[in-house]
Amino acid sequence: MVTASRTSADHALAGASDGTRARQPTRTGLAAGPDGVRIAWEEFGTGSPTILLLPSTPIVHSRQWKAQIHFLSRRWRVIAFDGRGNGRSDRPTDPTAYHDDRIVEDIATVMDATGTERAVLVGLCVDGVWRAIRLAAEDPGRVLGIVAFSIGVPRLAPPMPHYATAGKTFEDELPTSDGWAKYNRHHWLRDYADFARFFFSEMTTEPHSTKAIDDAAAWAVDGSVDVMLAEHEAELPFDLEAVEARCRAVTCPMLLVHGTEDRCQSISRAHRLAEITGAPLVVVEGANHMIPGRHPVLANLLIRDFVRGLDPASRVEGFR
C-alpha cells in the first residue's frame, strides 16, 4: 500500500536537535578567554543593538533564557552563552576558575569572539547583575545598558537567613537533609538532583510552576556537583565600600526588576542599588527569583521597552 517512504532521518535538520527550540541559533562558537577556559556562545537574529544574555551561576546554563531568545531576536541580535561550568562551556573544577574576575572576563571574551563592541546586558542574580555592573563600571564603552533581574549584588544587604544559616554548616555532616539542610556539601555529593529540585522549588513558589521547576532542575543536573563545590569556594574580593563604588561608577541606563517573594536575593539589595544608582526599580508583586522563566511576558516587555528607550529610532510598528 505504501509505495515509497522517506525516513525521518532524511528530514533531519542540520544542527537542529529534536525540535525543542522555538528558534535555532544562526551561529555558534567556543571562545577561549585569558585563562584558556572555553565559553560556548550562540547568536540569534540581527538588528542593533546587540542584546547579551548573561549566565547566572553554573547551577543552570543558557537555556534559562529560552522564553526570551526567540522574542528578542525577532528584532535584535541576541547572544547567549553558557557560563563556565555548565552547558557546552568548559567545566573546570578548580575554585580559582570561578574567581569574580574570571566571570567578568568571560563576558568580554564572548563579546570579542562575536565581534560585539557594545551590547545591552541582561542578567539575573549575582553572575548576571553584579558582573554586568562590574563590566559597565570598569569598561563603560562596552555596555549600552543593563536590565537586571533579581538583584544579586552581594554585600548591599545581608544574605537571606536560610543561606546564612546553611552556609555555617555547609561543610558539616548534618543529621538531617530536610529543607535548607540540603544546602550542604555532603548532601550535594549524595544527591545533587534532590538539592536541585528542592532549590528550584524554593526559587519558584508561584502557583502552577511545575514546568519551570522541572526545566531548571534538569539544567542543574546537566552541570556537575564538582563544579558547584568549586564555585562555592570562590570568594568575593570586594568589601561593601568597594561594591558600592562600582555600583556608583555605572553611567549607562539601567533597569532593576525584583520580585516581592524572591528567596534568593533580598529585595533590600534591589532598593539599595536603586538608591545608589538612581535606576528605576520595578517591583513584581508575588514573584519569586526566576522572573524571566516564570513571568516571560512581563520580562520580555520590560526588556523590549528598555531597549527601545535607548534608541527611539528602533521602534517598529507591529512588533509584538
Partner: protein, 322 residues
C-alpha cells in the same frame, strides 16, 4: 520494536580537560526538555516506522495522540512533565513528522492508519487501556479508537476537536480549491497546495498565527512553526487529501458508540475549529465541556495550567467513578 538510544545519550560530549589544562567534568547533553522519556522505540506497519516515547509510571496510562502532521509529539511539551508526575504518559510522532517516517501517498495518512499506529504503540508499550488525549485532528483518530476499540479506552479528552460537525467559522467555509492555482494568497487562500509549494514557511506562520490568536503568543507560535519546518509541503499536501472519518452523520453515529467518559476542552475564540463543534461533541457524547474563555485553537500550549488541571481532574474522576 526497535530500541533506540535516548537523545541525551546520543548528544554526549567528552572533554578530558579545558584548553588551559584545568581538570574538568564532562557535559552529558544539551538539556532542552523538562523531562526526558524513560524509554523510546519504533513500531513498524507496512514499512512505515512510527516513533514513540514513554514517561513515568502510574495508572492509568495517558496516551497523547498526535494531531495533524504539521507538528509532532512536542505539541504536548507543556503536558508531559506535569502529567508524568502522577501517570504513565505515552506520546508518539505522527507519520509525516518528527522521528516517524514520511510515506508519500495519501492513503498512508488515512485516519484509520493513525488509529492503527496508536494501537500498535499501545501493544509495543504493553498498554492494555489508556486515557486518550487528543488535539484538533487527533479527535478523528481518537473517535475511531473510542468507538471501535472501547475496551482499550478508559476515557477520552478532546481539545479543540476537528470534526465535521455543525457550524463553520466565517471565512473558513469548506472549499475544494486546495489543489488549484489561485490568483490570491490573502488570508485563508494560503491554505492551498500550490501556495505551500511556493512558500511553505509563510503558510506555517499564517496558520499558527490563526491557531494562537491570544495576545503574547510568540513562543508557542515560533515553537510550532519550527515543528512545521521539520516536515515539508509535499508531505503535508498528502496528509491533507487523505481519507477522513466521514460526514457529520457518520461522526454522530460513531459518537453514539462511545461509552467511556468524555471531556471536551474548547477555546471560546478558536479561529480554526468553531466552539460549536466542541459543544456538539460534548452534548452528543454526554461528556463535559470546559470552555477556555478568550482561548484559541491550541489551549494546551497557550493555557497549559488550565488544561493540565482539567486533565488531572478528569483522570481522578475516572478512578473514583469506575
Amino acid at each position: 520494536m526497535v530500541r533506540v538510544r535516548a537523545p541525551e545519550e546520543a548528544a554526549t560530549e567528552r572533554r578530558p580537560a579545558t584548553a588551559a589544562g584545568l581538570p574538568q567534568t564532562t557535559a552529558r547533553r544539551e538539556q532542552a526538555r523538562a523531562r526526558y522519556p524513560d524509554s523510546t522505540g519504533f513500531v513498524e506497519r507496512d514499512g512505515v516506522r512510527v516513533f514513540y516515547e514513554v514517561y513515568g509510571t502510574g495508572e492509568p496510562t495517558v496516551l497523547m495522540l498526535p494531531t495533524w502532521s504539521i507538528v509532532h509529539g512536542r505539541i504536548w511539551k507543556m503536558q508531559i512533565a506535569d502529567l508524568a508526575r502522577r501517570n504513565r504518559v505515552v506520546t508518539f510522532d505522527p507519520r509525516g513528522n518528527g522521528r516517524s517516517d514520511r510515506p508519500s501517498t495519501a492513503d498512508a495518512y488515512a485516519e484509520s492508519e493513525f488509529a492503527a499506529d496508536a494501537l500498535a504503540v499501545m501493544d509495543a508499550t504493553a498498554t492494555r487501556r489508556a486515557v486518550l488525549v487528543t488535539l484538533s485532528m487527533g479527535a478523528q483518530r481518537g473517535l475511531l479508537l473510542a468507538s471501535d476499540h472501547s475496551e482499550r479506552v478508559a476515557g477520552a479528552v478532546f481539545i479543540g476537536p476537528a470534526l465535521a460537525l455543525q457550524a463553520v467559522i466565517p471565512g473558513r467555509e469548506p472549499v475544494d480549491t486546495f489543489m488549484d492555482h489561485l490568483d490570491t494568497d490573502e488570508g485563508w487562500a494560503k491554505y492551498n497546495a500550490q501556495f505551500w509549494r511556493r512558500d511553505y514557511r509563510a503558510f506555517l506562520e499564517f496558520f499558527f498565527s490563526q491557531c494562537f490568536n491570544e495576545a503574547h503568543s510568540t513562543k508557542p507560535t515560533d515553537d510550532a512553526v519550527g515543528w512545521g519546518l521539520e516536515t515539508d509541503a509535499e508531505t503535508l499536501i498528502v496528509t491533507d487529501i487523505a481519507p477522513g472519518i466521514g460526514d457529520r452523520d457518520a461522526i454522530l453515529a460513531r459518537i453514539a458508540r462511545v461509552h467511556c467518559p468524555v471531556l471536551v476542552i474548547h477555546g471560546r475564540d478558536d479561529a480554526i475549529r468553531p466552539h460549536a463543534h466542541g459543544e456538539e461533541l460534548a452534548s452528543a457524547s454526554g461528556g463535559r465541556l470546559i470552555t477556555i474563555e478568550g482561548g484559541g485553537h491550541i489551549p494546551n500550549s497557550r493555557d497549559p495550567v488550565k488544561v493540565n488541571l482539567a486533565i488531572r481532574e478528569f483522570i481522578r474522576g475516572l478512578a473514583g467513578g469506575s
